[in-house]
């Protein structure tokens, strides 16, 4: 009878516990990461009665957690990759929408600017057309600046998120460490005493960590887990948690880097972190945001520089020429060799004054009879140059001979307003070297950025896009022209070994632009020179309009007369000095090109002795639109990507590249989400709670409970029967 009672009670207990676990399952059915629990029952050891074994009831051996470590790990892994792709794709979409926004994107403003140039060409002396061109230039500049500040805005919010992510990681790591301690203290080894709910909590926190970054897990025998991020940096070791924080980037303090805090110090681990929201943000910054800003800058520099180069060639309504349309903040300078130079000298210009080169029109350097002469094109004052390098007094720049030598008669045009590159200095640098970067040929730039390192002997330039290395020997004469990249580096002062710099040739482009032209009359629509055929000429030979080849030539506007001394020969006569400067030049009636004083004309047709042609300053040529037409032509000129694309095409390509990256990120994200979904489904098959199943279990255990209770009732009744019989 006693057995019957104990069997009944054991059944009751088993059923009760099972119902308790079932209700735990039901109440946690919607808790994320909850793993279903089950009561493990085992038949009690039987009792031997005589030669028979009689069952003794049921024992509860434990409550187990239904999970599969492999499936759990898979979910953690896919959580990291899908979160990474999600953050990446969300951020790219923001940039994508910037490019789509008609009120922000550059394309439309660029078109309007060129249209306004065409209007000036149609009516060169009409002030309202010029006013429109000025204000379209201004709005183009503003578009670039708005675009650039939007990109900066994205960068700032990215930095803010990195800080949040880092502090979240730190708090997660300390929570997990605490749980680890609790788990190991509750002796997680034995199945019967397994702290299932603590384990569930901990595993869902591990999953939260993987939402932020890739994490490696190592489960220990006592039930605790070790977590590692990056390349094996421990985040949690048993009950011990490590701190993650952000530190300012060594080159640019406003950019945040992920760092690892140890007793020995704080170490940057940004480059080692992949996956999760942090990995996604970092990848977006490196792969999309930075290149986008560099390329927007490159396009801004491209537009401004090409317009400037052509604008210099023209004459404004005030009769002035060699002036720019756009200005660059903190502009550089460059030396352009005349195409007729016989020598092979390559000169570099380094701006030494914070206000840039003092002459707006630049300088002309000539070499004659062993003497270098530098002429200020603003006021025509001259000074001797004893040799190189030479710091020009009051000029705000120094001249350097990079290679070669000038031959007698050679000329160099020292041009102000060259686009300047950004150089970021590592805060840990100990040397005193100052580094300047000037974009000398925007056509050759491609948006790449570089890190430069000094090893005590040589400088090494690492291209951050393709990781190619260029070595600048310590013996280099600066400025150094980076081959094929369109920019030059000037280093002065002593660098210390391990000093590094970040070189971003075009990053500043969009924000550094401004319109230089202050009033409509200053737009240079006309050719500064004109050519005329003498009205008394006997022949019908013709002369083309002069083409300015060297606007920095100080004798450019001197009146020159071409006098035919025969049908096949002519003299070149300087009207100011009344001297023949070139006699008996050979003439071919099919076309002879004469280059003189920085201009070029072509004469054609049968000539007769005594025919005269003049090339002179285009005084009062306010109706001339020659230069405005050349400016308008720039819209279709292939002057970017080594002459392969026009500016508009470069911008389209950038738009399309951002679109492609966003689309790829979206597609990748979709696939990662699907993979995560599948991993989740597999895990849910094992660990998830099905309410119908639980309902069925509940009914089953309820019935078992009722049945066990009935056993007790039966046993009681049997006992009563016995008592009644005995009591008579």
């Amino acid at each position: 009878m006693a057995t019957l009672f104990s069997i009944g009670v054991s059944g009751l207990q088993a059923a009760q516990r099972s119902i308790a676990v079932t209700s735990q399952n039901i109440s946690n059915s919607s808790v994320e990461g909850y793993a279903r629990q089950r009561v493990e029952l085992m038949t009690r050891d039987p009792v031997r009665l005589g030669n028979q074994f009689v069952g003794a009831g049921v024992n509860i051996t434990g409550v187990t957690r239904q999970h599969d470590q492999f499936l759990d790990d898979q979910v953690v892994r896919y959580t990291a990759s899908s979160n990474m792709s999600e953050v990446y794709s969300k951020m790219s979409s923001q940039l994508d929408e910037l490019f789509a926004d008609k009120n922000i994107n550059v394309s439309e403003s660029l078109q309007k600017f060129y249209d306004s140039v065409q209007s000036v060409a149609a009516n060169p002396s009409y002030i309202p057309s010029r006013q429109v061109m000025m204000s379209e230039g201004q709005s183009l500049v503003e578009r670039f600046q708005v675009f650039d500040s939007q990109i900066n805005e994205l960068g700032n919010s990215l930095n803010q998120s990195l800080e949040n992510y880092a502090s979240e990681l730190s708090s997660l790591s300390s929570s997990i460490a605490q749980l680890n301690r609790d788990i190991s203290l509750s002796g997680g080894k034995g199945v019967a005493f397994s702290p299932n709910d603590l384990l569930n909590q901990r595993d869902s926190l591990v999953r939260k960590v993987s939402e932020l970054a890739n994490v490696q897990t190592a489960y220990l025998a006592d039930g605790s887990v070790n977590l590692f991020i990056g390349q094996g940096q421990p985040l949690v070791l048993g009950p011990e948690a490590f701190k993650i924080t952000t530190i300012p980037n060594e080159f640019n303090a406003s950019n945040k880097e992920i760092a690892y805090v140890t007793s020995a110090g704080t170490f940057k681990i940004t480059d080692q972190i992949t996956g999760g929201a942090i990995g996604g943000s970092l990848a977006f910054r490196n792969e999309v945001l930075n290149p986008a800003q560099a390329n927007i800058g490159r396009i801004a520099y491209g537009i401004a520089d090409s317009v400037n180069q052509q604008h210099r060639m023209g004459m404004d309504l005030n009769g002035d020429y060699n002036r720019t349309f756009f200005d660059f903040a903190n502009a550089g300078g460059k030396a352009v060799a005349d195409s007729q130079n016989l020598g092979n000298a390559v000169l570099g210009v380094n701006i030494t004054s914070t206000t840039g080169m003092s002459a707006v029109k630049g300088y002309e350097l000539t070499f004659n009879a062993g003497v270098y002469t530098l002429r200020n094109l603003d006021d025509n004052s001259t000074q001797g140059v004893p040799g190189f390098p030479y710091s020009v007094p009051g000029g705000g720049f120094s001249l350097h001979l990079t290679s070669g030598a000038m031959a007698a008669g050679d000329k160099m045009f020292i041009q102000p307003q060259a686009p300047r590159g950004q150089v970021l200095i590592n805060t840990n640098n100990t040397g005193a070297a100052s580094v300047n970067v000037t974009v000398t040929d925007i056509n050759k730039t491609n948006g790449d950025e570089y890190q430069m390192t000094y090893n005590g002997v040589d400088f090494t330039l690492r291209n951050l896009t393709d990781n190619t290395m260029t070595t600048l020997p310590g013996t280099t004469t600066f400025p150094y022209d980076v081959p094929g990249k369109g920019f030059q580096i000037y280093i002065s002062g002593a660098a210390a070994a391990t000093d590094t710099w970040m070189i971003q040739p075009t990053r500043l482009g969009a924000q550094s632009l401004s319109v230089a032209v202050k009033e409509p009359a200053e737009i240079a629509a006309a050719n500064p020179l004109r050519s005329t055929a003498d009205v008394q000429n006997l022949s019908t030979a013709t002369i083309t309009a002069p083409v300015v080849k060297d606007i920095g030539n100080s004798a450019l506007t001197n009146p020159i007369q071409i006098v035919f001394t025969g049908a096949a020969t002519f003299d070149v006569f300087d009207v100011n000095t009344s001297t023949t400067v070139a006699a008996a030049q050979v003439y071919n009636s099919l076309g002879t090109t004469l280059r003189y004083n920085g201009w070029e004309v072509t004469l054609r047709g049968a000539a007769q002795t005594g025919d005269k042609f003049n090339v002179e300053y285009n005084a009062n040529g306010v109706g001339d639109n020659a230069n405005a037409r050349m400016l308008a032509d720039l819209q279709n000129t292939k002057n970017m990507d080594n002459g392969k694309s026009s500016l508009q095409e470069t911008y389209s390509a950038l738009t399309s590249e951002i679109g492609t990256k966003t689309r790829l990120a979206n597609n990748f994200n979709a696939s990662q989400v699907a993979l995560l979904g599948r991993a989740d489904a597999q895990r849910e098959q094992v660990s998830g709670v099905n309410l119908d199943e639980e309902a069925a279990d509940m009914m089953r255990f309820q019935q078992a409970y009722q049945a066990s209770a009935q056993i007790l009732v039966a046993a009681d009744k049997m006992l009563q029967t016995l008592f009644n019989a005995l009591g008579r």
Partner: protein, 401 residues
């Protein structure tokens, strides 16, 4: 296989979320009428689209250049046509004045009318366009091109600039001609050479035209008439600009004299020492020609030598005027050609704009039929998902407990 209830719920909800996103996307397309709302919708399409839009805008700009060009060219055409009729009237006056039946007073009246013609052509040559720019002053568009000097001659203050405008992607057109080209660079005589009598001649020779054998003359010549004694036969000699003898012979009235590629006949009775100059044609502006005409008509004629001089000068003026008329007509027809060029370019540009708009539309515009059918399909899908979700949520064993 076990399906966890929470997973089932989450799957259904995220499925519905996805469908709602698609519906929102389709709805945005329907609202804007655009298939492409951001670059990632179709990265290569958007790049093409930007270039197509640029093409449309550029061609639209060319169209407005064409309008500006067309206005200037019709102004020029009007001015030059008026100059042409002025020259024709001047020619009629010269032909009238070149007869012996008129007296000095009648010729003066003709000269008076010629002065009006001169000032009419002057003012036509100083025409301004709507922006206040002079039409014929080249690039010096704010400088009055033709100014009368104290001695009656007219000087040109403009330059040789010709304004050009881009009217197509590879087409530029000159939207004007400078005054020097139009009014000054007119070859005198017959275009190859001009014949003038020395004003000091005392004989009564008149020259009747001349013809040219080649296309060019390489020197200027002088014909000297020699008659040492009144009884001697008249001889002539032709000398070049360096006074070297070219040819000589006995003078016969009306007979041809040929040298250096020219042939001409001289009539009348030359006096000893009379000279005829045969010069290569030079540029002579229309105003000089008219001034010559006025001077000749205003000079009183008394002697036969005067008469011969009058005929010689007016004869020259007739050919100079004919040169001027042909010269101006050449510009009128050139302007006409340019007008028709820009007209055809205007059509080309219109076609390009239309084509660009159609292409852009096919890239970016929404196919409404497709979008609406997508929208219907998506809403039906969402509805089905919602209904099954509600059904599924209702299905629980707990309902039966």
């Amino acid at each position: 296989m076990r399906i966890s209830s929470a997973y089932l719920h989450q799957q259904a909800v995220s499925g519905m979320g996805l469908m709602q996103m698609q519906i929102a996307n389709t709805q945005q397309q329907l609202n804007t009428g655009m298939r492409l709302t951001k670059p990632s919708d179709d990265p290569s399409g958007i790049a093409a689209l930007l270039m197509i839009r640029k093409g449309i805008d550029t061609n639209t700009q060319y169209q407005s250049n064409i309008n500006a060009a067309s206005i200037r060219l019709s102004l020029e055409e009007n001015a030059l046509t008026a100059v042409n009729s002025d020259i024709n009237r001047a020619k009629e006056l010269v032909l009238q004045g070149n007869t012996d039946t008129l007296d000095n007073g009648q010729r003066k009246a003709l000269a008076q009318e010629a002065r009006h013609i001169l000032s009419s052509i002057m003012s036509l040559a100083n025409t301004k366009d709507s922006a206040g720019d002079y039409l014929f002053s080249g690039s010096r568009s704010q400088t009055e091109p033709f100014v009368a000097q104290a001695n009656g001659s007219v000087s040109y203050q403009g330059d040789e600039g010709v304004r050009k405008l881009q009217i197509g992607s590879s087409r530029e057109v000159s939207v004007g001609d400078n005054g020097k080209e139009v009014f000054q660079a007119i070859r005198n005589g017959n275009g190859v050479f001009s014949i003038t009598g020395n004003p000091a001649n005392t004989g009564s020779t008149t020259i009747s035209g001349g013809s040219v054998n080649g296309t060019t003359m390489t020197d200027d010549y002088t014909i000297n008439f020699i008659q040492a004694l009144p009884t001697d036969p008249v001889t002539y000699e032709v000398r070049d600009s360096s006074a070297a003898l070219v040819t000589s012979g006995a003078y016969t009235a009306g007979a041809n004299i040929s040298f250096g590629g020219v042939a001409m006949s001289v009539k009348g009775v030359p006096a000893n020492g009379d000279q005829i100059f045969v010069n290569r044609s030079r540029n002579q502006d229309i105003f000089t020609t008219l001034n010559n005409m006025i001077t000749a008509l205003e000079t009183p004629v008394t002697t036969s030598a005067d008469k011969a001089k009058l005929h010689n000068v007016l004869g020259g003026v007739i050919s100079d005027l004919e040169q001027a008329r042909a010269h101006v007509m050449q510009f009128v027809s050139s302007v006409g050609t340019r007008q028709s060029t820009i007209d055809s370019q205007r059509e080309t540009n219109d076609t390009l704009i239309l084509h660009g708009t159609l292409t852009a539309s096919s890239v970016e515009d929404l196919d409404y039929a497709k979008a609406i059918s997508d929208f219907n399909r998506q809403t039906v899908g969402l509805q089905a998902a919602q209904q099954t979700y509600v059904k599924l949520q209702g299905m629980s064993l707990f309902n039966y407990l």
